[in-house]
Amino acid sequence: MNMNQQQKSDNDPCVEFIDVGVTKLSPADTETIILDRISFTARQGEITGIIGASGSGKSTLIRLCNRMDDPSEGTIELNGQNIATINPLLLRRKIAMVLQKPFMFEGTLLENLQRPFMFRNMAPPSAESLEIARVLDLVQLSREMLKRNARSLSGGEQQKVNLARALINHPQVLLLDEPTSALDRPSTTRLASTLINICQSEHLAIMVVTHDLYLTEHIVNHLIYLEEGRIVEQGVGPQMLAMPQTTAFSNFLAKPEREQKSSS
């Protein structure tokens, strides 16, 4: 399952953060720095992990990628093009996002998978279509489940629907915000395997915000450690985990995983 040893030399840059900053005004009119001079590159065919304690700015960072929010300074590029110049509706089809809490629209699993087409005013694909079969295969959901009420599915199944729905637009980048926060260990293991499979078969750039060191250890190629809105350390995932270069990251790793999860 471990894909950390995968060849990475020919992977094209996909999402590039260049000196990105986010400041917010508090009600008392004081400026708070949420993200400070963030620069990194997430490449196609790689999984980039963003880890850090609660409040470190991880979720803010990932929301900037598909313009759910905009940065206060710096630029973010998708294949060399500044995303601020791309129509946000088009951008969100290229950069799909899986939110932390899976939200199921009212209706069946099939209707949930058809939603993105309805948003584009396109005829939705039928249950027998290749489109539906492709995403069901990617997340390992059976065709028999298509008629089930999406809200009656288990947490793990809903997370898979969430992932399948995000993949139906054929994105180039997949963003995941704390995908394992509601999953137990066996489900996390299955999700890790699914993400590696998706990354390889679809040649996507995947960015995962997580507290979960188990997930990080098993799937991440490029790792970024954030603290108080700054990148404290970044590099090749397994190397960073094995030999942390900074005391801050070392201390973070030393905390019991339970504690890191509960602080989210």
Binding site: M68, D70, L89, R92, M97, L99, F103, F119, N169
Partner: protein, 261 residues
């Protein structure tokens, strides 16, 4: 109209009427419900406000010029807006601009349509018609406006996850907020729809009762009542429609991003 049939109420008759408030006050005190002060204060406000408006209307009727009538209508629109705003705890962004323009266009438009096309009185500013008709239209639309604005804010708050999920899948702001818009509009219209269905069975409307008391034949009073209920429904529908359609946009940026709360 046979206004000569009405029995004028003199001061002593009003005192007898006010005795019923004192009776209510005594009952409230006996039952210790703790609302005596509120009851007394509300009855005093009612007394002072109505006497003041009575003199004001007398003055406007006597002047018989369009300017005071238009000023009176603008003041009524302003009070509608202020009351609608004071009823709502959590206001939507740009509340006064959204609700104010909606009341102005919705109620103003329906009042003009109703005055000229349905009743067709002359001169166009005749205060005997224009002020009470506009008063009923503004008063009822104000309730619809409060409901539409309040429900829209609540729906946008409660459906935040759903809206963000839809946006992340490539939905426009309008598509992502469609359910919130629909529910807010439905909530604003429901009381008016219920009132129409109950009118004539559960209660006789105030305007019709007033006309009958002042000597109008019941069948004419009924026709007026039907027409004014149609106007109220139209005003509530247009005003609430404008509020939800303008209002939902205030929760988003131009880049289809949901603003933080």
């Amino acid at each position: 109209m046979k206004n000569s049939h009405i029995i004028p109420l003199d001061l002593i008759q009003l005192v007898y009427a006010y005795a019923l408030i004192l009776l209510s006050l005594a009952l409230a005190r006996w039952q210790k419900i703790g609302h005596e002060k509120q009851l007394l204060w509300s009855s005093m406000r009612m007394l002072v406000q109505l006497i003041a408006v009575g003199y004001l209307l007398n003055l406007i009727f006597a002047i018989n010029s369009p300017l005071p009538v238009v000023l009176m209508l603008l003041a009524m629109a302003g009070f509608s807006l202020q009351v609608a705003g004071s009823r709502i705890k959590k206001r939507m962004p740009n509340f006064y601009r959204v609700v104010g323009s909606s009341i102005f266009i919705g109620c103003g438009g329906v009042t003009v349509y109703f005055s000229f096309l349905v009743v067709g009185f002359s001169p166009w500013f005749d205060p005997r018609y224009l002020i009470p008709l506009a008063g009923m239209i503004f008063g009822n639309a104000m309730n619809g406006a409060s409901l539409a604005a309040e429900r829209l804010s609540a729906e946008m708050h409660e459906r935040r996850e759903e809206i963000e999920c839809a946006l992340s899948l490539g939905a426009t702001s309008r598509q992502s907020a469609a359910e919130a818009i629909r529910n807010a509009y439905s909530a604003a219209l429901r009381p008016t729809i219920n009132t129409m269905a109950a009118t004539g069975i559960v209660a006789l409307p105030g305007m019709m009762t007033g006309q009958i008391l002042s000597g109008t034949e019941p069948i004419i009073a009924v026709r007026y009542q039907i027409a004014i209920l149609c106007a109220i429904t139209g005003a509530v529908a247009v005003t609430s429609f404008l509020i939800v359609q303008q209002g939902y946009r205030r929760f988003f940026t131009d880049a289809h991003q949901l603003k933080s709360e």
